[in-house]
Symmetry: D2
């Protein structure tokens, strides 16, 4: 029998991506999609690319028989929703917000940080997952092998994100006339993901307390994150490359490239690609992900696969957009 | 002494473009920019590219000593504003809305349709101008020589417009994540500009009553309009080309190209370029303009130049964006 | 046992898309990918998004045991290649070029026009397929129900295509600095796809000989085709809509939408969506496809599915890009 | 009498921009535009946006009576051209290549580094100018005030550039289908502009030898450069801001913004905008320019203005694209 999955907050971008993935997942049945404001409408009324894919409608009721719930709510809303909603303890929860990433618990539920490349065995045992942030995923995957080897020092990182990272709410910074052909910086040196990044890196390299300087930029594209992180490493490049390859050897979505990478290699996939360069003692790690997949809904499904003992890549062997 | 100009509704896109043009116009002083909601703020608080260009602030008062007012208000708002505002009859008015394009008058003010290529002598004598619509400008300039020669028949036209045509209001169809890489149709066969297009063409070719089928598309770029109009013409291409060249001979902004045209040839300029092709008895006229310049603020300044006896191109010899 | 598939000309855009599809097709094994100039290189050296997906290398030899060959060669090259290459008559061929779309045969091979919505039963029996052109697919699907009902009259159609339609060769019209934010027309009224369009429509509506006026535009996006076709139809809109719905009732990829459509609903999918509007006696049919999928490689795989008795949608239930 | 200007290498991007500027410069006459491969063609055959602006044709002869020559040649070609061409010593030269930026001389000509904000008095006296690189301009203007105050330490900088920075040559990295929606890194930590950057900063802060780590990215837009540079500064933000404002007080094109900046504020202008932020002891300086204007042709004209005693802003009060 298929795993019964429900989505809470199915009208937003991560909700839509989770729907798209679960509809095509061979071992999952999308039992219901919850959205208070859209209850009664077909899914394709909100996500019009689903026309022809499904006749499912949004509901405002929670079907308790679900095996797993994906919470695709805004930051702060997951906590509020769990506070007021009675969910059987047998239902697994994968929360895509930042509410539980730093270790908070609610109603006896403990949340495991869902970055499989670092935490796979714990995820397999977990009942509840705090799905990592998009920038956090790209930066952590770029630095984790160094931290695990105890080699991580001060980091300067710059990242650029697609507009879907800002959600579907209408805002001046997502107005097409402003954003097209434009670049801007925001949350300079104080992006909220720095907390989970530091937490993850410190778990890998106990005592790590060097500064991480992160400058995020808004890009003039819809999907994807490109990161370049710079740090000091004495080891030669070949040795560092081997370190990275060994670290990610058994992980199906994260790969160390031999050639320079570009963002579109991963858009519409669940992959993370890394590319390393050295000049003197400075190592630069470039990393790319799709912010809505490996940075959100794709990773959530990857976590579900692990939690339910499925193949880690089930339903996630996605055709890249290519162009 | 310089012409004193005021702008009513200076916070929107056409208001911003009019500011940009008037600030650089050698014979005009931008006396004031009115915006109720932004009164007291520097212009660059709303139009941040003006930083370093001017220290002028928005005002909520009308300076009566202005020689000319540009009304950069929404459709319907120009009429409302003129209804409740007392403006000396010596002040010339150039209205960028559609309120007076079909011949309505207000408080004794009659409005002249401000398409200089067709109406230049009347504009020179006019006290009030109804500035044409952006699609209307591009379509009319593409068809006027045929109509003036009594040759215009049924027309099929498709046009694509940049997002700035939809203004700065936040809307789902101007959300970056939706609009980028996207194309869509709207107001199929019933765009509101069809009224002024028909009126202009009928003035040129009395009795013209063949259908004009216009399909507008939303483009995934910010500025510009590209039009292809198809109609039946028996005359050979060379003859039609000569007709067009003769028609636009004395007009500094509208040119008939010998080679295929593309949108970016005119972006950030006040030009209209035309290119003609024939296959059998079917003539296709391609036309391109910048919707905010020849399609709005640039044409408004061109009209002002004519009304005040200035060189028609004054302040409008703009560097194209090129790329 | 899985169907053994080979690709001839695997380095181009349609070759790449065919690789991406076949790698994920549950009943196909991608046996080899032929490319003379890239022989010996891994596929991801040319299609870098495939990094992590496959270790297959390009070859310059033809493996005769393939069950089906996809010819992803330039126009004219398929014919030349089949002229000089000995292929067992038991090998099925799906040719993505235009070489055989108008009925030419070669070495005893007759080619069936591979538009399943019109020709499905013939495709099921076919040994060789001429895969339709991208613009042709979008225009034919937009007009076929009218033609099948004997209602098609003169047509005016405008279409816009993504840059991938022009292939990977470096050209001035695909230089980023020129194409971004730009629109242009080409092959006005004489696009080469008009031949296959007319042939298909005439097969559906014998004696049809009204003009089809087609104006193609180059768009400033990479993937997709948006078409608006205008024609005269006396029947009321509801009746025409029903006609279209009945015509496409059993076809899994082509759908008649109730709401206005946009290009991104189908990007990265094998779908065609249609939307109908009427004003007076004028019917406008909008249609959207992904030019590389339903307009090329996706339709090729759909044809393969039919030829081999597989589920028509096998390997083609693709997650749309959405954004 | 107007200054007679000639352009050598007028067919490329910087040549085109220099033409666009000089055609509109009130005190300059564009005497000739040299291009061996285009001799005899009208300028608009190569730069089609110039249609209607000028009837000038490319020439393959050098008119010796020019007062100033702009060399818009590729890197290395300026030196070769000057080696084989006899130019009267009374002709001033502004070279846009990198050939003379580090102090090389040729035929007795010494070249002054043409960054007016740092070197204005020398430029006024100069006979020959080495025009700065685009990335170099944006980075140097972002760091110069610190260096002039002796406060500059190690720098981490990331920059993103439009595709026009790569010129008009057809390349895989400027193919539209690849570049649109894409981000990539290149020349990581060893961009060639680092030499002139270090030279400029060392002149301002003698003995400065801390590392400058520069990671350049290719952006998916045509025009502009966005830079974020991070360094350690003990002084409070307000003090640093005042330092920057004082440094640029008399400079008409470079401004310190009070609000976050974005790239499009400067596109199609000769401006550089700066914005400063601090977090702990880390200062981040964001800077934006148009790579073809302040980063190339606009700065070249600014240098010409200074060399000939004109108003520094003459011909450079450009309307921004805005959108």
């Amino acid at each position: 029998m298929k795993i019964q999955a429900g989505i809470i907050g199915g009208a937003g971008y991560t909700g839509g991506e989770t729907i798209r993935l679960l509809l095509r997942h061979p071992q999952v049945e999308l039992a219901f999609v919850h959205s208070r404001s859209n209850a009664g409408k077909p899914l394709y009324a909100v996500h019009p690319d689903l026309l022809g894919d499904t006749e499912l409608h949004f509901t405002d009721r929670i079907e308790q028989e679900a095996d797993v719930l994906f919470l695709c709510l805004g930051h702060g809303e997951s906590k509020r929703w769990l506070d007021v909603t009675s969910i059987s303890s047998s239902v697994k929860i994968i929360d895509l917000s930042q509410d539980f990433r730093l270790g908070a618990s609610i109603q006896g539920r403990l949340f495991t940080y869902g970055l499989p490349e670092i935490n796979r065995e714990n995820i397999r045992q977990a009942a509840n997952i705090a799905n990592p942030g998009c920038f956090a995923t790209a930066i952590e995957l770029g630095l984790a092998p160094l931290a695990a080897a105890g080699l991580l020092q001060e980091v300067h990182t710059t990242g650029i994100t697609g507009s879907t990272g800002a959600g579907q709410k209408l805002q001046e910074t997502t107005h097409f006339s402003w954003r097209t052909n434009n670049i801007s910086a925001y949350k300079t040196l104080n992006h909220q993901h720095l907390h989970e990044i530091r937490r993850t890196l410190t778990q890998l390299q106990p005592g790590y307390d060097a500064p991480i300087h992160f400058i995020p930029w808004r890009g003039d594209f819809a999907r994807g994150i490109f990161i370049s992180s710079c740090t000091t490493v004495e080891q030669p490049l070949a040795e560092v490359q081997q370190l990275y390859k060994d670290f990610y050897a058994g992980h199906p979505f994260t790969h160390v490239a031999e050639e320079p990478i570009d963002l579109k290699q991963v858009v519409n996939t669940n992959k993370c690609l890394l590319f390393l360069e050295k000049e003197g003692d400075q190592l630069v790690v470039h990393s790319v992900i799709d912010n809505l997949l490996k940075g959100a809904s794709g990773q959530a499904v990857q976590n579900m696969n692990l939690m339910f003992g499925l193949e880690e890549t089930a339903g996630l062997q996605l055709k890249s957009i290519g162009f």
